[in-house]
């Protein structure tokens, strides 16, 4: 077992998710199945091998600092679940 139900609970919390008690055993089992399979990577000698973060040669793409039109304020709010005074409304953040 790579991860226990307690670990899965912790990972869920980091991911801002909840796994129900009913789902937990199967979820943990499948999680372990995938992580166990990942052990085959340990057979590969990667000493001195650079990681590939992107297949492209990464470089900064710059442009002239000229103002451009972005998404309009009212457009940005169009899909908001709740709006208050031209802003996104959320429940209380600090108790």
């Amino acid at each position: 077992m790579k991860v226990t139900e307690k670990d899965v609970k912790y990972i869920a919390a980091l991911s801002r998710l909840e796994i129900s008690e009913a789902e937990m055993p199967k979820f943990t089992e499948q999680f372990n199945q995938i992580l166990n399979y990942a052990d085959i990577l340990q057979k590969v000698d990667t000493t001195g091998i650079e990681p590939t973060f992107s297949i492209l040669p990464l470089y900064n793409v710059l442009r002239e600092d000229v103002p451009q039109e972005g998404v309009a304020h009212e457009d940005a709010l169009k899909n908001a679940p709740a709006v208050h005074n031209d802003g996104f409304k959320v429940p209380r953040v600090i108790e």
Binding site: Q30, Q33, I34, L35, L41, I49, T52, I55, N60, V61
Partner: protein, 490 residues
């Protein structure tokens, strides 16, 4: 031949010559949708009113004597993870089921400039995570060749729509095979372009270093036509490549004489269905007959590709999907008493189980203490997978493999039972995304009435050789002309 079964290039000629109007064509395709959609389930959203208005506009242009673009007035379908301004874009997820984009994806803007027609948005695995379209929150999509079977995925709706005559062309996206595998399962053509060929701006991000948009069509010529419109650098996507876009239709020549085609031995080993292999080997014989030179090559790190992908893609997804917090758009749990609780409950109720599994897998492999063992290791193995291809392409011009080790299989929710077994079936398509290479799937035969797809893999930015090799095979065979029966016991 029915209008809805025709190709883009045939219809373009009829439109330009005024033998057919775009309104007539668009209505014919919607009639077909009315007739078969209940059986197939390809669409999440239809947009008939706007489509017919756009068709009338194109008809007016033609009547005024204008020369129209190859895709003008020809109705296509768009995968539901590609942003269409004013038209609901859900990623087949509960968390986005009310989301109406306020801007167009780059590819959509390009297609609008060419005066094409959007029929609607197609069903997919939720956030493109899956190979069967079964993880969709919206509906099931059925395979047009056997309604009891999956259409493949994640672009299952886009591929099924082409096979069932519910669209003339479509767009999919491909992170680990999501264009090529459903194309293969549905007996149609699908291309994943070189990473960077097509802007990802407005394609809802899954795994940013792997995602690429591409066409699904009835033949190779149509795929080249759609590519011409969607490729090109875009200031909104810093990973889009500042390279010239050739006229891909110029590559459509019947000529593979002397072309060196590599057969990677790892793609023909155990795990490949014997009947699929048989069809692929017949295609190899055909290529020999046509004058190509067949060379056996090796891609030794193939066996590590699947798990490497299932570390890298979830890691990127866990970061990309962090934006669904219930604050600015998407589903929100209204009962939550605090903002953190609101985010947690919105995500828990808004995401399906496959998406949760991948977010958590990604979070785990990036978490402190496991980063080196999983994520960094996978990134290093990715380098080795790329080098395998570099080595092979020193000896050959293209690689030939089965697109999938199997044909479309029965819909039975296997993904929920045994995710790993389904993941393993992606072994033939995943390495291509890992290396950022272009790949195409074309129909090459049938086993037990189900289509088999042939995958060709090209060098980076060499879609032209890929298209030429695919076109030559297609013109020498009839597999792309077969019509799906829409049979089965559903």
């Amino acid at each position: 031949m029915k209008l809805y079964e025709s190709t883009v290039h045939e219809l373009h000629e009829q439109l330009q010559n005024k033998q057919l109007s775009s309104v007539e064509l668009t209505k014919a395709v919607y009639d077909r949708i009315d007739e078969v959609e209940e059986k197939i389930g390809a669409y999440v959203t239809l947009d008939k009113e706007n489509a017919l208005a756009q068709a009338a506009k194109v008809d007016a242009m033609i009547a005024a004597g204008e020369t129209i673009k190859p895709l003008a007035g020809i109705p296509g379908a768009i995968k539901d993870n590609i942003s269409t301004k004013g038209l609901r874009t859900t990623c087949s997820s509960h968390i986005l089921d009310n989301f109406i984009p306020v801007y167009d994806a780059h590819v959509i803007a390009n297609l609008r400039k060419d005066e094409t027609i959007f029929l609607g948005k197609t069903n997919m695995d939720e956030f493109a995570m899956g190979s069967t379209t079964e993880t969709s929150y919206m509906k099931k999509t059925h395979n047009a060749w056997n309604l009891d079977c999956v259409p493949g995925g994640s672009s299952g709706g886009s591929a099924a729509a082409i096979a069932a005559g519910e669209a003339i062309w479509s767009l999919g996206s491909d992170t680990g095979g999501s264009i090529r595998q459903p194309a293969s399962f549905n007996g149609v053509v699908g291309i994943k372009p070189t990473y960077g060929r097509v802007s990802r701006y407005g394609c809802v991000a899954f795994a940013s270093s792997l995602d690429q948009i591409g066409p699904i069509t009835r033949d190779v010529t149509d795929a080249a036509i759609v590519l011409n419109t969607i490729c090109g650098v875009d200031a909104h996507d810093s990973t889009s490549l500042p390279v010239d876009v050739p006229d891909f239709t110029k590559a459509l020549r019947q000529d593979v004489k002397g072309l060196r085609i590599g057969l990677p031995k790892e793609y023909f080993g155990e795990g490949i269905d014997a009947k699929v292999k048989e069809q692929i080997m017949l295609a190899v014989e055909k290529y020999k007959e046509l004058g190509a030179e067949i060379v056996e090559v090796s891609l030794p790190h193939t066996e590590y590709a699947v798990i490497t992908y299932y570390i890298i893609a979830p890691a990127e997804a866990s970061a990309n999907l962090a934006r669904y917090d219930g604050v600015r758009y998407g589903y929100r749990n209204k009962e939550a008493k605090s903002a953190p609780e609101m985010t947690k409950l919105s995500r828990t109720e808004g995401f399906g189980s496959e998406v949760k599994r991948r977010i958590m897998l990604g979070t785990y492999v990036l978490s402190s203490g496991y980063y080196d063992a999983y994520y960094k290791k996978a990134m290093q193995v990715r380098t080795l997978i790329r080098k395998d291809f570099d080595e092979a392409f020193r000896k050959v011009d293209v690689l030939l493999t089965p697109t999938s080790p199997v044909v479309a299989y029965p819909m039975d929710g296997k993904i929920a039972m045994d995710p790993l077994a389904i993941y393993m079936l992606d072994v033939t398509t995943i390495p291509v995304n890992m290396a950022g290479l272009p790949g195409i799937s074309i129909p090459c035969g049938f086993t037990d009435g189900m289509p088999v797809g042939l995958q060709l893999i090209g060098k980076a930015l060499d879609e032209e050789t890929l298209l030429r090799a695919a076109y030559t095979f297609e013109q020498a065979t009839d597999f792309h002309k077969a019509a799906a029966p829409l049979g089965g016991n559903k």
